[in-house]
Symmetry: C2
Subunit: 296 residues, 2 copies
């Protein structure tokens, strides 16, 4: 039995998105898994990343968010709501992200969860940076060994989200989330569960949708993740640029998926020991040239 | 002389992002343009979209965000902060979006600005939906005739944001913003102004950066926008899927850029009259099948 965390972002408990979340809890609990749910609207989650996130700022006269995140993470002076979410992530074997697509992305309250919880030393700035190595990221990192899946309701029509549909391909729209936010700190990302035209769903359609979602949830630990290439598995060079010959015939984000026939990836270290404490994960000292996930 | 609006999202007035915003104000004011700045952190902008956005909800017992947005926009019962921002957008000839890239997207506070201000009837659900027409969007809509440009600071290294770089192509990462949020309601989007490795910039580098940014700002009304295909200009069919033969040899988001040699786009109506009042823009009645930019 495993530990499963749901990060849920919808303001209405009677919404379709919330019904899917409830179904996930029920289904996984019945399987014997341990569950935690972070219901961001219900808990009044603070969406905006700001100086209030740091109990003892190192440089209060000029907020550098990444630098303060580094300091607060290392010195245990993060806001308690942030640290509580990090502990849930460390506890979890799988994380479901349950939200409606709003303007081609996650709701602001969930984006703010990522910005505040994915601290420097926790989700970025992890591992050695220097020479040809640029951190433990994209398949490695503190959250490696965990699975993630999006459960998304979309108001628009499915054909609009195909490659030639006017919105562009759903995989491209979700790229910043699935690759940039979830694979970056090490999670394996399953293909998303998606409901289109969610606003005009009828009661009669619910049983089929529920059955389809249940199938996906029950496959959480057996389904194949999206084959994003790991940064340090040998497919990228010392500048983190894809080596010649790989991704041939592809363009755009698809270049970054492992193709049949590609050389096997070989990470020079496995997933970090799951029992390590938070402080052992903090990478680098303030002076080091680390990748910073925050513009200035 | 023109009207220019800056939407600024950074918590620190002494940051690089804020310095660029100040430079834009100074440069454009000196040119004689009228300026307004929405400084989201300074004004304590409410980031999370929720029931508080609607003064007289039509259905308080079950929040449907899109439906309430439609109702509030049409009945002038939107939250006053939302309506004030809409008026600024209608006033503006060009809009600069000034923010640091955080986790491959805009800060949550700015995403929440989009979710709340881009109301149903204002930025989506505009125009006729039915038959082969699916609204005035992607090049048409209430905000057509306006220009938009992102001014973005990025912590990461430039090679990582090339097509074969480990983060993927910057244009793909910005696709949900530039195409999905800005072109959708009708704005013409200029290529972004980007500073990489913004956290390790030295004082000595500032004059060159300032000069480069000034050049871009002074080209706000003369530079060529990104050639996104309009939805209703003839390149997409009645299902809003790109017609065969267009986008040949391309894949991913690049399919949706006009290529040399493509047939000329012909919109069946021009930009809406800029003097129309807000209420005249509201499209469709509640019962109509409109595109909804909000999952349920």
């Amino acid at each position: 039995m495993s530990n499963i965390l749901i990060i849920h972002a919808h303001p209405e408990p009677k919404s379709l998105t919330s019904a899917l979340k409830d179904l996930a809890v029920e289904t996984l609990t019945a399987q014997g898994h341990a569950m935690q749910v972070s219901d961001l609207y219900a808990s009044g989650w603070k969406a905006a990343a700001d100086r209030g996130d740091f109990l003892q700022p190192a440089r209060p006269e000029r907020l550098g968010y990444a630098a303060e995140s580094h300091h607060a993470f290392a010195s245990h002076t993060q806001s308690p709501d942030v640290e509580a979410e990090q502990q849930k992530l460390l506890w979890a074997d799988a994380v479901l992200f349950s939200f409606p697509m709003w303007w081609f992305g996650m709701p602001a309250i969930l984006k703010g969860w990522v910005e505040r919880v994915f601290a420097y030393g926790f989700a970025y700035g992890v591992g050695a940076h220097g020479g040809e190595r640029w951190g433990d990221r994209y398949g490695e990192g503190v959250l490696s060994g965990r699975r993630a899946m999006l459960s998304v309701t979309i108001g628009g029509r499915e054909p609009h989200y195909r490659e030639r549909g006017v919105n562009g391909r759903l995989d491209d729209i979700l790229w910043p989330i699935q690759h940039g936010m979830l694979f970056y700190p090490g999670m394996q990302v399953l293909p998303p569960f998606v409901i289109y035209q969610s606003d005009r769903l009828t009661e009669a359609e619910w049983p089929d949708i529920a059955a389809a979602y249940k199938r996906r949830i029950l496959g959480l630990f057996s389904e194949q993740p999206i084959p994003f290439r790991t940064q340090n598995g040998g497919h990228y060079d010392g500048q983190q640029v894809l080596r010649p010959g790989l991704g041939a015939g592809e363009s755009g984000t698809r270049i970054h998926l492992v193709q049949p026939g590609d050389p096997r990836e070989a990470l020079d270290r496995g997933a970090p020991d799951r029992t390590e404490s938070l402080e052992m994960k903090a990478g680098g000292s303030p002076g080091e040239a680390l990748e910073v996930q925050a513009g200035e």
